[in-house]
């Protein structure tokens, strides 16, 4: 199966370590110049997928193709890719310059060109004045930039990044994200990026692949995946969603929290069987609902202050709910832990996922 967009393709990639299956048939197709993110919880098989793409590991079955050519068993050093490792994996016995020069040296690049390319790349990541530093004298962010420079300087056919900002603090992470985006645009290379941080995927990727337990659960442009999660797992993992499980009986949605009228949606959306209502945390409201809006009572358990808004954590009949309010709105309500509040939402803000 070759689609015109298929620059890099994974077809039915499975991986077993002894008895344990870690990847259960991964299909990916990535276009040239695209920036894609693999996103999923820890242990979902993201790193294993990357290792199979780089050639540092082999799939148990399935194929990896580059421009339609089967490279499944081509050794890593012959693929012309580059990888930014989670903990950078810089060469501790080489200085910054020699780390970045390594890939070009292996390619036998002439000295003059090598010096020029390494220097240019170090300038790009603002590390030129550190060229002769040893890597163990660098801060986390600096190491990160050396790792990126080392990967990009060889102009790889594919750039792989395994949680490249995972080891950085929040502020640095945002900086690094914008720099990565910038480099991607300027160099026009194809990036495959792994993260368990959804906001990072949202900020960087042209397309995301949500992975769960060795499978791709959903893929597409980040906005569409975040706004219309296709499975309960995706709804739970991406975005800040409330999940209410129940069953569709007649025209109603019957849950442990109460029974909610579905009005015309049962027929229109084809709802039936056991379903999950997905409601974004900024779509839940407090106070007196207008006529015809679903409502329930929930006990306030905790508050989290996030700058301009406050998250309320509530509990009702064994279901955890979270609700984002603007800070001043929250303040006016004088929230008290342990008190019960009326929670409601507009029917159209609930999105139903049913497993038939």
């Amino acid at each position: 199966m070759t689609t015109p967009s298929g620059y890099l393709e994974l077809a039915g990639v499975e991986k077993r370590f002894g008895e344990t299956a870690v990847l259960h048939g991964i299909d990916l197709s990535i276009a040239e110049g695209e920036f894609v993110s693999l996103i999923g919880p820890s242990g979902s098989g993201k790193t294993t997928t990357l290792r199979i793409i780089t050639g540092t590991d082999e799939p148990t079955s399935g194929a990896v193709r580059l421009r339609g050519e089967d490279i499944t068993f081509v050794p890593a050093h012959k693929r012309g890719f580059a990888m930014v490792f989670q903990h950078f994996a810089l060469f501790p016995h080489k200085n910054v310059y020699d780390n970045v020069a390594y890939g070009l040296q292996l390619r036998g690049t002439a000295k003059r060109e090598l010096t020029e390319r390494v220097t240019t790349m170090l300038e790009r990541v603002h590390m030129r004045e550190y060229a002769s530093r040893r890597v163990n004298e660098l801060s986390g962010g600096q190491r990160q930039r050396v790792a990126i420079a080392r990967a990009l300087v060889i102009e790889p056919r594919l750039v792989l990044l395994d949680e490249p900002t995972g080891a950085l603090d929040a502020k640095l992470r945002l900086r690094m994200q914008s720099q990565l985006k910038e480099l991607h645009r300027e160099l026009g290379l194809t990036f495959v990026h792994v993260t368990h941080n959804q906001s990072e995927a949202l900020a960087l990727a042209d397309r995301v692949f949500v992975m769960n337990d060795g499978r791709v659960e959903q893929s597409g442009p980040p906005a569409s995946v975040f706004n219309a999660p296709a499975t309960r797992f995706v709804a739970d993992f991406v975005g800040r969603n409330n999940l209410i499980d129940g069953t569709v009986e007649g025209g109603d949605f019957v849950t442990a929290l109460g029974t909610f009228a579905l009005n015309g949606r049962v027929a229109r959306d084809g709802l039936r069987g056991s379903c999950t209502a997905v409601i974004r945390s900024d779509s839940l409201r407090l106070g007196e609902p207008p006529e015809g809006c679903p409502r329930l009572e929930a006990e306030l358990q905790a508050l989290e202050y996030g700058g301009s808004f406050v998250t309320w954590f509530l509990h009702a009949a064994g279901t955890a709910l979270q609700l984002d309010l603007r800070a001043e709105e929250s303040g006016e309500l004088e929230p008290a832990i342990g008190r019960r509040y009326r929670v409601w939402w507009k029917p159209e803000d609930a999105h139903y996922l049913c497993n038939d």
Binding site: P75, M83, F85, H87, H126, L138, S139, Q142
Partner: protein, 300 residues
């Protein structure tokens, strides 16, 4: 910081103990060094005269006029010393190469890994006499003549290899394999990865293993006595001579060897410290100059 009486007592006691250990370790050497400048056959401490005659005897073993002590063995230590040095060097090189290969292999899982591991280390625990005797019997069975370069070398390598193996295991324990993968993805073949990443990073281990191989081989008598045939290493020669009569020449030789060993060790530690500081990945400090850096657009 103030100390309680108990703490002070413990501190004093451990200090004394430490001094005692140092004394036990180094006093014999000091005595030997002093005696090597004495002249008479019987060791009297402290010696009443100071002379270099024992060192001269070492240098000129065929100048019989120097050997004035009654019944003094006229021994030429140079051939056994040369043999010991050559054997030590060869042993160190071979054992280190083997130990490195074995340790690298043990990073992977394979069938029989566990039993093989203990089998490799068994050589450390087997009594030397048994190992030497066994080797000799084995050599006789397969018709291998006992020489330093056959059974001798084989046994020395087998004896020292596990030490090197342990040294490499210790170094590999703190070794991040993803560095090798990074090199491979950047285009390095397996051999290139070994040459440019693995070996440089394990350099202190290589030095340690070489040192172990060399010193253990240089010192080895028990096992050697069965397998060297007519070849005599220095410690074997010394043991033979001292069985007859101990003269200050032996002290002179011992002092020379000890001084050279200390110098080698000092060199190793200086080199090791430099290497360690060079390759250790310290935790990064979190302050970062990134915010101060110009926006990317300006640099591009």
């Amino acid at each position: 910081m103030t100390l309680t009486t108990g703490q002070r007592a413990v501190k004093g006691l451990s200090g004394t103990l430490f001094a005692f250990v140092l004394l036990v370790l180094y006093a014999p050497f000091a005595i030997m060094l002093t005696l090597s400048f004495g002249e008479r056959a019987t060791a009297v401490f402290p010696p009443s005269e100071f002379t270099f005659v024992s060192y001269e005897k070492l240098l000129h073993p065929s100048d019989y006029s120097l050997f004035t002590i009654a019944g003094e063995p006229l021994t030429n230590y140079w051939p056994p010393l040369r043999l010991s040095l050559i054997l030590g060097l060869l042993t160190a090189l071979l054992a280190t190469a083997l130990a490195l290969m074995a340790a690298l292999a043990f990073r992977r899982r394979f069938r029989g890994r566990g039993p093989l591991f203990y089998l490799l280390l068994l050589g450390l625990l087997t009594p030397g006499v048994i190992l030497g005797l066994g080797m000799r019997l084995f050599a006789d069975q397969v018709g291998l003549g006992a020489h330093w370069y056959t059974t001798g070398l084989l046994l020395h390598v087998a004896w020292t290899m596990p030490f090197g193996f342990i040294v490499f295991l210790i170094f590999l324990n703190r070794y991040d394999v993803s560095v090798e993968e990074a090199a491979a993805v950047l285009g390095a073949s397996r051999w290139k990865v070994f040459r440019t990443v693995t070996l440089p990073l394990l350099a202190p281990g290589v030095m340690g293993s070489l040192l172990f191989g060399f010193t253990l081989s240089l010192d080895e008598v028990q096992r050697s006595s069965f397998v060297m045939g007519r070849d005599q290493t220095l410690p074997m020669e010394l043991l033979a001579v001292t069985g007859v009569r101990i003269t200050p020449v032996v002290y002179a030789l011992g002092s020379l060897i000890a001084v050279v060993s200390f110098a080698l060790l000092a060199l190793y530690f200086v080199g090791f410290e430099r290497e360690r500081r060079r390759t250790a990945i310290a935790e990064p400090d979190e302050d970062d100059d990134f915010t101060a850096a110009a926006p990317l657009a300006a640099a591009a």
